[in-house]
Each structure stands twice: as structure tokens, then as C-alpha cells.
């Protein structure tokens, strides 16, 4: 028997959700509308003149090979960060789940990096890998790898991927650990009695049962890589060398704040916004269908 609460007065429920709606309207709908609107104008920095240009800002974007390359680097960056951060976190979570002694200590240590701001995470790695000063770059040279992310675009991309993934591992670790602990012991014990080895047990029982967590994390990690890593890029490579690490969200900032091209920047954020909407729709469709709560 479900208990239902019924509001007698008609206005009260609306009043109660009003703050949330107001926040959404002020902080989401209004700026989104503004972005949408300014994407159709060309404007000077001080806002004296504003000229309606229709789709010109969008046309320019899609005629710009650099912008199209940004889609590619964003995709590579996003997928690599998600894959790296999730696989390492899963490995660590499985290991931590088996630890018998000092469990709390291990977990705390593994969660630490999450407290580091993305910009700092980037700077730490940037410093470690600096071709002139970095200790990791020095080791790499020792084993014959010529490391210079100032010149080599692939190395620069690899660097920001590692930095972004490193920071996200802790978050994934927490969720995976919670997921692992909610898997009924009886299932695993039953499989063990049927003589399934640890590897078999993991892939046949644990991994499928973790799938809601895994999917949730995939979406969260992609969103993180697509949008939250701006400060990391800004603090380290600033999109270079050439434009190899210039991911979409960084380009929005660069065009708008550095270049004061508000129309072009707004058009880019509209495209990004469309991308988020598509990703969210996919998430909900998929999660609704595949996951049993």
C-alpha cells in the first residue's frame, strides 16, 4: 500500500517548487536564451554595435578546419579519459574490495586526488613532464623517449588525458567500490562452489551486475571530460601546440574571452549545448531501458 500525500490547496505545490524553477530559469534558461540570441549577431567588444548576421557565425565555424579538428580531439580526449579513468578505477576498486587489513587507510588514500582541483592536477602533471625541469621527462629520456609536449601535439594530448584521468579515478573508484559491495555474496559463493575461478566469477557475475554503475560512470566521465576539463587545459597547454589540445569547451572560452568574438563564442556554446542535450537523452533512454533499479 503506497502512501500518497495530497495537497488540498492548489497553489501550494507550485509555490513549493517555485524556488527550484526560478533557479532553473535564471541560471539555465535565461543564459541559454542569451547564448542562442547572440549566436546570430556580430558584436564589437564594448557592445556599441550589434548586427544581425543570421547563420554566418555557424557557417564560419563549420568552414573552419580548426573547429572540425576540435571535434576530433574532443572525442579522442573524452573517450580516452573515460576509458583510462574507469578501467584503472575498476581495477583499484576490485583490489581494495579484497583487502582485509587497513581497508580504511587504502580507501582514504585512493580518494585523495579527487580533492585536487582540475587546474592543479593539470599543473602537477605539466610540471612533472616539463621537458626542461620535469622528473618524468627526465626518466623518459633515460629510456630513450624524447619528450617535448611543447612541440609534439600527440604527446601534449596524451599529457592532458593522463592528468584529467588521474583526477577522475578517485570518483570512479568510490562508485565502483560501492557497486561491488552491493553485489550479494551468495551469488559469488554459489559460482565458487560451481568451480568458477576468480577471473570467470568477475566477468560472468561481478561485471554484469556492475553495469548500471558502469554506465552511469561512463556518462559522468564523458561529461567531465567534455566540460569540466576546461581549467586543466587552460592552466597547462592552452590548446597547443598548434591546436592539438584545443577541445570544444576550451575553444568557447578562447573565442569569447580571449578573442572577444561574442557571436562566434555563443554559436560554439549553442553547439555544445546541443551536444549535452543529445548525450542526456541517450543516457535516459538507455538507462531507463537497460537498468533495473
Amino acid at each position: 500500500m503506497q502512501k500518497r500525500v495530497i495537497f488540498k490547496a492548489r497553489g501550494l505545490p507550485y509555490l513549493l517548487v517555485l524556488p527550484q524553477i526560478a533557479i532553473t530559469v535564471i541560471f539555465f534558461f535565461w543564459p541559454s536564451w542569451q547564448a542562442l540570441e547572440s549566436s546570430f549577431f556580430i558584436e564589437d567588444a564594448f557592445g556599441f554595435s550589434r548586427e544581425w548576421v543570421g547563420w554566418q557565425n555557424y557557417r564560419e565555424l563549420f568552414n573552419d578546419p580548426g573547429y572540425l579538428r576540435s571535434f576530433r580531439s574532443t572525442l579522442i580526449f573524452g573517450l580516452s579519459v573515460a576509458a583510462l579513468a574507469m578501467s584503472l578505477a575498476l581495477g583499484l576498486a576490485v583490489a581494495a574490495n579484497r583487502v582485509l587489513r587497513a581497508t580504511q587507510g587504502y580507501r582514504t588514500l585512493l580518494i585523495w586526488p579527487y580533492a585536487v582541483a582540475p587546474a592543479l592536477a593539470g599543473v602537477i602533471w605539466y610540471f612533472l613532464m616539463n621537458p626542461s625541469l620535469g622528473i618524468v621527462a627526465y626518466w623518459l629520456k633515460g629510456i630513450g623517449v624524447e619528450w617535448n609536449h611543447y612541440v609534439n601535439g600527440d604527446q601534449a594530448l596524451l599529457l592532458v588525458i593522463v592528468a584529467a584521468a588521474w583526477k577522475q579515478i578517485s570518483y570512479n573508484f568510490l562508485f565502483f567500490l560501492a557497486g561491488l559491495q552491493s553485489i550479494p555474496k551468495s551469488l559469488i559463493e554459489a559460482a565458487a562452489i560451481d568451480r568458477a575461478g576468480p577471473v570467470r566469477r568477475f566477468w560472468s557475475i561481478t561485471f554484469p551486475l556492475l553495469s548500471p554503475t558502469t554506465f552511469f560512470l561512463l556518462v559522468v566521465n564523458l561529461v567531465y571530460a567534455f566540460f569540466d576539463t576546461f581549467s586543466l587545459i587552460h592552466a597547462t597547454t592552452e590548446g597547443g601546440p598548434s591546436d592539438s589540445t584545443s577541445i570544444l569547451v576550451f575553444r568557447v572560452y578562447n573565442t569569447g574571452f580571449i578573442g572577444q568574438d561574442y557571436g562566434g563564442s555563443a554559436a560554439q556554446s549553442v553547439i555544445l549545448m546541443a551536444l549535452v542535450i543529445v548525450m542526456t537523452v541517450v543516457q535516459f533512454r538507455y538507462v531507463e531501458r537497460k537498468v533495473n533499479y
Partner: protein
């Protein structure tokens, strides 16, 4: 002393302070000088406030150059802008375009209206020519200006048995000798658009764009994909292939290479002087004039500046503007300028400050610290060497960075990269022209 008397005393004190506060005209000054530079800037404001009964300059650090300028523009759009804002040289065209719309109070007019005797000829021509309009009126007050110089590691040069190079051929020869003597990346530079294109062009008296490098109109078009610059960039690319040049990133990122001795010849701003003096302990360093390309010119023309100026925004009360004008006069005085110059490596902006530093014996004690100012005042600036003024220039510099990086990594030849940079740069110029006409 009991609680009551403390309360009374503090109340009276704060009332008195409030009254004094209200009497003085309040001027907001947003700057982008962090660290030691910021401390000196704030000190100037505080010292000025102490001398004036009518003025109070509120010196506020607002982040780096870009952040400071963006903040001021956003504030202007909201009607909450400061009186004085520090803008870096690449933002000049944006500020000037805003000036045409009445957002800017030009410095020459500010001084005139405040009744302050203001003589532009007291300033170094190469410094103020960057910030004057076509009628030679000064629009913003030069504050911190520097110029690129050739920094060299004297210890490494001596060990390799070579002199400080004066031409690009000598740079190449010196780099080879240094390499043979174990210097890993003998030659490098920072701020590549500024040092290797803008200044390389001015130094050899070649325009990098039409319309007097943009001074004469918004219709300017880039021409730096000319034979001379292409050959120059190609030469550096070849030095890179031979291990004689090691690229170390945008802006001043390659500074570490010079400081730890990996690089012995480094072209970048003279304003690194203050930091080098502190950080470099294990070798002798010095600064020399930029190398000359003898195929292009027998003698150099003059170098151009980088740095920032102080712009005054419209929309405040006259007493506050008078106050700003007095502050400008104060920071331009030889004492302040000489202090600034000697402690930072920026050039003194007035001839008097230069003279004063010389009289104080600063250059004898610190040889080479007058390199930048000598370069700037080498000759009377020509239309090709008085500076550059381009719209969307911050983005254009990014385009140049991107294209040059493609050359250093071997993805493009100098010709391909500079052609692409000019084409992409021109598109940005046209966009600026459309938005501001």
C-alpha cells in the same frame, strides 16, 4: 582603557576616516601586475595618495592582462567600469575602436582638460608612437614597456669560444659551436609572434601588413608571408632539425631552458631581467641587441615594444578625471620611472628617467640593462617600425603560434605555415572591420 573608550575612539576614528574619504575624489585603477610588479604599482598609488589632499587612487589587481581587459569591458557594458584600466599592447586596436564610439577619454585630452602641462616629446618616440593616433595624439599612457633582446649565457659562450652574435649568420655559427660543446638546445625564444615576426620585421624596416601596419586604417591586410620572413622562419626550422634550436612553448615557457643552461641564446623581453638576477646563480648572463639579417639590411632600424598602457574610460565625474590626470603626471616623473625601470627591466618611458638612471650609475653597475632602450631609440621610427595595430590581434597571435608550431614539429614548411597564418589572420581582420565599422 575600557571597552567603552575603545568603542568611542574607533567610532571617532572611523568617522574621521570616512569624512576624509568622502572629501577625496575616488579613482578606480584596475591593473594586471602580479607579484613584485603589483607591489610596486600599488606603492605608486599609495605614495601618490599620501601627497594629495584631493585624490585617492584605488589600485586593484584584476588578474592577468586578458582577464583585466575582459573584466573592464564587461564592467563598461554594465555601467560599473573603472576610471583607469591597464591594457596590453595587443588590445590597443580594440580600445581605439571603442574610442571612436566615445568610450575612451584620450590621454592628451584628459591632460588638457585637467590643465596639466603635458609634453609628449618628453617620452621616448618608439614607446609613444605605438599608442598615438594618425594625428600624433597620445591616446593612452605608456606604463610598462619592454622590447625583445638577445639574452646570452656568457659562461657557455666563453667555453665554446664564441663571441656574442650580432647577425643571424653568427647566431647559426655560435649555435653550432655551442652544440659541439655540449649545449643541448643552443638557441630558443619566447613570444614567437612578437619576437620573430613583429620585431624581426620592424628591426629590418619591413612592414608586416598594409596600411602602415594597421595604423592608417581597419582595412589592413597581413603581408608577413613575404620572402624575408619565410626565409627567416625556414632558417630556424632547419636549425631545429639540426638540433641547434629547441622550441620551448608559447610566451615565456622556454625561460626554464635558459635558466638551467640548456639554451645559451634566448630572444625574449628585456623585462626578464629582474627574475634572472634572482634565479641565475651558476653562470654569467647578459643581454645584447637583436641579431641582424645581413641579406635584408646592413644596420637595424629599431625594435618595437610590448607591454601595457593605461587607458581612461568615459562616464565619470570631472574631479575624478583631474585626479587621474595628476596620477598620470606622478607616475611619469623621472623618479618613479627610473625606480620602475631599475627594479623590473621594463624600459623607462621618458628620456628624463633614462638620463636619471644614467646619472645614478645604474648602467655601469648593471651593464646591458640599457639594451632595450637603445634598440628602441636607435632611429626615428618609420611607418614599418613604429609598431603594429591589428583588430582581433590576440586571436591572430594565437593563429601565428599554431602555424609556427606546425613548422617546428615539421608538419608544415615555413611557406605553407605563413601563407595559412596570413589567410586566417586576414579573416580575423575582416571580422573585426565588420564589427567596428
Amino acid at each position: 582603557m575600557n571597552v567603552k573608550s575603545i568603542l568611542t575612539a574607533t567610532t571617532i576614528a572611523s568617522l574621521a576616516a570616512g569624512a576624509a574619504h568622502a572629501e577625496k575624489a575616488q579613482v578606480q585603477f584596475w591593473h594586471a601586475m602580479g607579484g613584485t610588479l603589483g607591489e610596486i604599482t600599488d606603492k605608486f598609488a599609495a605614495d601618490f595618495n599620501a601627497t594629495s589632499d584631493t585624490c585617492e587612487i584605488n589600485s586593484i589587481y584584476k588578474g592577468n592582462y586578458t582577464e583585466n581587459m575582459t573584466a573592464a569591458i564587461a564592467a563598461f557594458r554594465a555601467g560599473q567600469h573603472p576610471h583607469i584600466v591597464q591594457v596590453f599592447e595587443v588590445g590597443t586596436a580594440t580600445m581605439m575602436a571603442a574610442g571612436d564610439q566615445g568610450a575612451i577619454y584620450p590621454v592628451y585630452k584628459l591632460m588638457e582638460d585637467a590643465g596639466i602641462d603635458f609634453d609628449p616629446s618628453a617620452y621616448l618616440p618608439a614607446v609613444i608612437s605605438y599608442y598615438t593616433d594618425t594625428d600624433n595624439n597620445l591616446l593612452s599612457l605608456p606604463f610598462n614597456s619592454s622590447s625583445p633582446v638577445l639574452w646570452y649565457n656568457k659562461t657557455a659562450l666563453d667555453a665554446a669560444g664564441v663571441d656574442v652574435p650580432e647577425t643571424w649568420d653568427e647566431v647559426h655559427a655560435a649555435a653550432e659551436a655551442l652544440k659541439a660543446n655540449g649545449v643541448e638546445k643552443p638557441f630558443s625564444f619566447g613570444w614567437q609572434s612578437w619576437t620573430q615576426i613583429e620585431n624581426f620585421s620592424a628591426w629590418h624596416d619591413m612592414p608586416m601588413a598594409t596600411e602602415e601596419n594597421g595604423f592608417a586604417g581597419l582595412g589592413t591586410e597581413f603581408t608577413f608571408n613575404n620572402e624575408a620572413v619565410v626565409n627567416h622562419i625556414q632558417r630556424i626550422a632547419e636549425m631545429g632539425q639540426d638540433g641547434l634550436f629547441g622550441y620551448g612553448g608559447r610566451r615565456g615557457d622556454s625561460r626554464a631552458q635558459f635558466v638551467n643552461g640548456e639554451t645559451a641564446l634566448w630572444i625574449n623581453s628585456s623585462a626578464y631581467y629582474g627574475g634572472f638576477k634572482q634565479d641565475i646563480t651558476d653562470f654569467e648572463f647578459g643581454q645584447a641587441m637583436l641579431p641582424v639579417d645581413t641579406d635584408l639590411a646592413d644596420a637595424p632600424q629599431n625594435s618595437i615594444i610590448g607591454g601595457a598602457t593605461l587607458w581612461v574610460l568615459q562616464g565619470h565625474e570631472q574631479p575624478e578625471y583631474t585626479c587621474a590626470a595628476e596620477f598620470f603626471q606622478y607616475v611619469s616623473e623621472p623618479e618613479q620611472q627610473a625606480y620602475w625601470h631599475q627594479n623590473t627591466g621594463y624600459v623607462p618611458i621618458t628620456t628624463a628617467a633614462y638620463e636619471l638612471s644614467r646619472e645614478q650609475g645604474f648602467y655601469e653597475e648593471n651593464p646591458g640593462t640599457d639594451t632595450a632602450i637603445k634598440q628602441l631609440s636607435l632611429n626615428t621610427p618609420t611607418p614599418a617600425s613604429k609598431g603594429v595595430r591589428f583588430g582581433n590581434f590576440v586571436q591572430v597571435r594565437d593563429v601565428i603560434n599554431e602555424e609556427l608550431e606546425a613548422v617546428w614539429s615539421g608538419d608544415k614548411t615555413a611557406r605553407e605555415a605563413l601563407d595559412a597564418a596570413v589567410e586566417r589572420g586576414n579573416a580575423l581582420l575582416r571580422k573585426f572591420e565588420n564589427a567596428n565599422s
